[in-house]
């Protein structure tokens, strides 16, 4: 420390920062021995998931079809262990769990964590199946994609969807906190913000992706495509008597199968965009759209040339 005087001030500052009253709600006190939600472990969970589902693309080692079982086996066991710990961390994070008999609670949470981690492991083949439809959709829809491998290796949407689809399974198992951390990691990496509670069908794709927001109660069908900057948001949400938003009410759009939404379009509220409808770039939608309907910016001079093939694909 630069001076005796500053050391004293530093000590006072540390005392101030350690006072319980300055820590109200900002301090995460753990029961000793409980695992902590850990970005580092979640990153490893994501890496393992990607490497199990798309072998040979992520990860450092080459694999061949004869010996691939070894690598998938080791990765799956490690994934199971990490999931147990992080699911447990999520369950413990729930503020209500500090019950009377801590030891018993911990035991029962541990069992629940293991059961949930087992379920996730058993769903991996299904996760690969649905993600392979997303990969195919991205490839089919982009003239710039050279092959499936390039899509898996480079496309941010595949990374965001892998995180989302894993996180969504954890939401279905009622794991707190962890799913949101997983989708936020994809948000930071790709600029695509999908709430893990949203429901999304097969063959889903997002081009470029930066700025896309998909709200918690969205329901998205199969073969839907979004471009960058698209918002699927809430228009308003009812408040309770204290003026706070009421939680859990459906407030985001439903997109039926085959919908396309072009760049920077904003769709707000619990409305339905019918099967095969097309929402043009920069358009703002707050009412239902009929199946196969189209909506573009009504700018006379620019839009005369719009026709059925029009896309705004980028």
């Amino acid at each position: 420390m630069s001076s005796q005087n500053f050391t004293q001030q530093l000590t006072k500052t540390v005392d101030e920062l350690s006072k319980p009253q300055t820590l109200q709600g900002l301090f995460h006190e753990h029961r000793d021995g409980d695992p902590l939600p850990s970005s580092k472990e979640l990153e490893e969970i994501i890496e393992l998931t990607r490497s199990i589902l798309f072998p040979g693309f992520y990860g450092m080692t080459s694999v061949n079809i004869q010996t691939i079982r070894y690598r998938i086996g080791v990765d799956t066991e490690r994934l199971y262990k990490l999931l147990c710990r992080q699911v447990m961390a999520g369950l413990c994070f729930n503020e209500d769990c500090h019950c009377a008999n801590a030891a018993d609670t911990r035991c029962c949470l541990q069992e629940e964590a293991e059961r949930i981690a087992e379920n996730i492991i058993l769903k991996l083949p299904q996760l690969r199946k649905i993600l392979s439809t997303d990969v195919q959709a991205a490839f089919d829809g982009d003239p710039a994609a050279a092959n499936l491998g390039e899509v898996i290796d480079c496309y941010p949407a595949i990374k965001a969807l892998t995180n989302y689809r894993l996180a969504h399974e954890l939401v279905l198992e009622n794991v707190p906190l962890i799913p949101r951390m997983i989708t936020e990691m994809a948000h930071s990496e790709t600029g695509i913000d999908i709430h893990p509670a949203a429901t999304i069908g097969t063959h889903f794709t997002i081009d470029h992706g930066t700025g896309v927001v998909i709200g918690a109660t969205c329901v998205i069908g199969n073969h839907v495509k979004l471009y960058q900057g698209v918002t699927l948001g809430a228009k308003s949400f009812p408040l309770d008597k204290e003026g706070k938003p009421i939680k859990g009410i459906p407030r985001h759009p439903i997109l039926e199968d085959d919908v396309i939404v072009y760049a920077n379009a904003t769709i707000l509220g619990r409305i339905t965009i019918g099967k095969g409808a097309v929402v043009g770039a920069n358009v703002w939608v707050t009412r239902d759209m009929k199946p196969r309907s189209k909506k573009y910016k009504q700018n006379k001079t620019d839009i005369l040339d719009i026709n059925y093939d029009y896309g705004g694909g980028i």
Copy 2:
């Protein structure tokens, strides 16, 4: 090297790349012994700040209320040391500092760096206080937030604001370069680009955040909320005789208390958005708005249902 021939070419290329004339303005020559602006040290500064202000959320170790002083004490001392070095690096970066008596200059810069680092340390309790209002505001405004902990752990706005509020203190101390590096790190992590010189009140929140831009001379009151894609920018800036922009003129908006700006709205120029005003999604504003006024897209078919409760919250 693959061949004798290429080795010769490589040597020539290295010579070319090392010529002072090819390095004009692109080469950062340090006085020996001066610390370097270092992303790695700044990342550690951010981690320490987050871990001191929100103990138990970031970082690897669990803490309890009895022993938390140890951890905060160690982290604060380390933070002080790193701040000394990086503030010094910022002061040295200033091109004017290569004065006649290098040894003396360094001494006086070193003292200044220590004084500034001390000031920052002493402001940590105040930083926690104001950030706790941001956390509360995010929680109150989002039906999807389960508890304060989830907001601290997952919400990109809290990360961006922690960086901004630390960087802003360094701006107030006239530290060059380092504040901008700190907010750019948050920009890269969250897609939220807040200039460290902007002035922002309490209970500030940004939902989703990707694509938000807040310019250097913005003045934002208390209880303001922004959504993703909002730009608080300059409309134009006067040029000097050589056609270069004149630096330091107020050119970004003033947002008074309780203003809400929905997704992708663009507010440009030194205008004032009055207390409690609401700017709808995708709206474009370049003139003052009166207190409690509202502005939405004037799209007849869509906007009939807008009423006082309307939000566009997502």
Copy 3:
């Protein structure tokens, strides 16, 4: 494992995940000994390139003008080695290369990889020259920039452009996959998505940058400036008989010299924005614009004050 029972199920799941038929197109099988496309090595390639082109800014060590040749020499040799490996990895990734005589193919690919890596090394002085025009343009155009050093150290556009300009050279050498991985790394870091095949002139700059998309067949002149959220995209693309997009057709805009495009503007299709034209914020353009023409949002109440100086610079 928690139980005998789960171990059996895990084994079955691993078997399922290892079946060739579930891996169709999702499995990257390498010839033994071929290098793998590696994010980690590509990150080092980027760091070395940045540190060679802008010595003293990136990297951990200080340098002085007398001894800088040592550092540049070592970094350039290392860059050459890594480029050889990653270019080779890209060439091997091409699905057609698994030809009859594997040993011969590998030999000839290896030679090609070395030749390409040599070419890239020899172009480094030229890369520094063009990037120095980008740095200068960013500095000249931003009233908030204190000096060139701040631009190099902090501005996301410089990071994105360094990646793009390196990746573009690899595109010109017909290297598959690797260029796209390099620009995606910048996309993740900065939110700026430039396709490596796009053509971009000197003195190019992007302010803030989050959400910018520049398509694969764009042609951009000198002294062009974009703001955040700008899309230079395709309006539609012709499909082949199977309904799949035909690859390689010019479908993105041409921006001539001195064009400025303000925040969140969307420019779609193979149109030409003439020399010196200005595209206002949030504007949507799908037709050619004449040289020096301007296009702003036609919003009567807001736009009366627009004049020649208007910018929307942020």
Copy 4:
């Protein structure tokens, strides 16, 4: 793999290596969730212990007397956590612990591990006290030592004794395996092999140390000094009916206070070297020595000059 053929052989080899019968006694199967004895965690335990007992010497950070509590507090908490885990790992390693009710056993082992770790923590001040006598003795006995700090920083004996004194406390608590791993780490680092079960008094010192061996049932008084290559071993040990050595019988020497043993001397069997006795270099002793007696090599030509002051100190 280089060929289809080798892949098949590799698969067979892996099968062979995984067969339970080839793994008899060579395979450490853990109950899921049990911690593993970990060299890495034990290394951290040693580093923490050294850094708590001799602050400012080991470890990366400088400390001052005002703020030292923070550092010692953090290190002590971390040490406690690691000790809990490694003690638990030691208890679980005991082959007899795989009892009927695994869950119950684990609970009771966990409690025992915590109790033992607590005891070790509470003994730290006492450990520092006794080690400070060892440091003083090394300094007093070596003309080459400049100050206490040099002894703490450089002398292998201090490193070996810190490990031994910690490990010995764990032996007193009946922790299996872990104490031996800790002293073996010192053996590898310093060439000094002290069995953790040996009993050693205060002011003990070993000069140079390489090749020193101190057996499990040794009893060493205060103010004893050994030089390099000294063996305190067993002369013979009784065998049981199956010809295997009977475990736990006292079989190593007793050295009373103030004994000095010079380089490469070998002392074997349960004999007593009386208070103040001196054993010369390379001497071989298998019988009791009286207090203050001396024993040198009886080499007429060389040894005439031996007198009371003789040392052989190096």
Copy 5:
């Protein structure tokens, strides 16, 4: 640099250090692309070998008998790859290999390296078998060993023998350099220096081990036991006309089955120690010993109590 003047001197020093004539024989110039002998890769080779042969003891992860194949499979593939590279590095190190047609040589060395690495992999089950006899012998001979696991985890002899037995296989395949590097790593870790060319039977054990030296042409039978500080060395070696030692002549002892050599004994020259012979501590032997003969220090006062059971076991 502290001064212009020193920078010039440094530059001169670097020039001096880079002159070919100052590098005569001290500079290892590689053909580009050849792998380098790498301590780091050899350490990983050792870790993998230990972890394959004794699963669950070394390494970070727990394993169970159902899923152990995955871990062994992955480790074995990785071991194969690293062995290929390091064996190749050894083959390239041979100075004679810089032949006319470099490309061809490299090809044929690569094939040889792969063949050798395959052979080593196929010998792993046999290596485990012989090492298990060493583990058993160490356990049987030491009253202080609690169980086989403790021997595997803690005993330096097991570490040294694992390295030796792997290195010896590489010697049998005529790999230069690499085997010696592997046994030197064990020498540094344990103080036991076994030349990789020595021949050693089953059930071999070394107690404590520090200072043991086993020369290149030693031949050791089954069930042999050494204590610390034992030297099995050469007594003299014939010189050629230039006064340099002639390489490759048998010059170290032969120890037949069941021999025991106690601490610090020195056995020199191509002599034979017959089956079951016992060499006492500190004894010096340069002549053949008959089967079942014994040799102790002829020290009247001390040695009277020596009898058949005598050991000096420590």
Copy 6:
């Protein structure tokens, strides 16, 4: 923590461990900003020295004769920086340096540290020259050495001597502490303990090396060879009035040119072993030996066959 109760005890223990009176002489308090003696930085210093002196052997990168200057230049600059810091740390460690005007002292120590580091750098070519004689001697004397490269890569003596020769230069510059730390690092790695103050000529070699001890006032000529376990020690040292050893008196042997000392020999006191003398294995010497004299164990039955060629080389 497991319980409220233990937390209180832990807090008390931490208080106890932080009391100044329990830290007497065991606490290294630094002036803020002073560098710390750091094993990690010293390890890097050793690695750089080895890699500069023997390019291509240590370190990860291959080098060729055309581009080797880059690598040596970068390594030398880095070495200079680290030496400055560690020499400074050594100078500050000296307890007398906490003088009245701390700022001035630090300045003058800093200058001294830079001067010393410069001197060391300028001596690197000379260090390489003398070490090359050691390499040659090891190769010439060992029938098992295949080439110079194997000696450099594998022989512990070369590692120990590189550390010693660097450390000895620092002793000549009167740097406290650091030289001893450097030779202790070699002691730990190789079992060879050379005091950095010893004086050693050219063509020095040590075979195997474990257990060798060379005292602080030894003087060793050219072409000297030692085997494992050799001690060059003090026989006794005079005590001062307080019974403490008097520092700095010559007390270790002088070995003239061409002396050979075989395994485990012990040479004690300020005696002179004349030019070309030979000391046999396990021999104990405390008196001068004449030039070309020989001394072996006088064991009638064994030693009859000793003749001029005898070596005991191993």
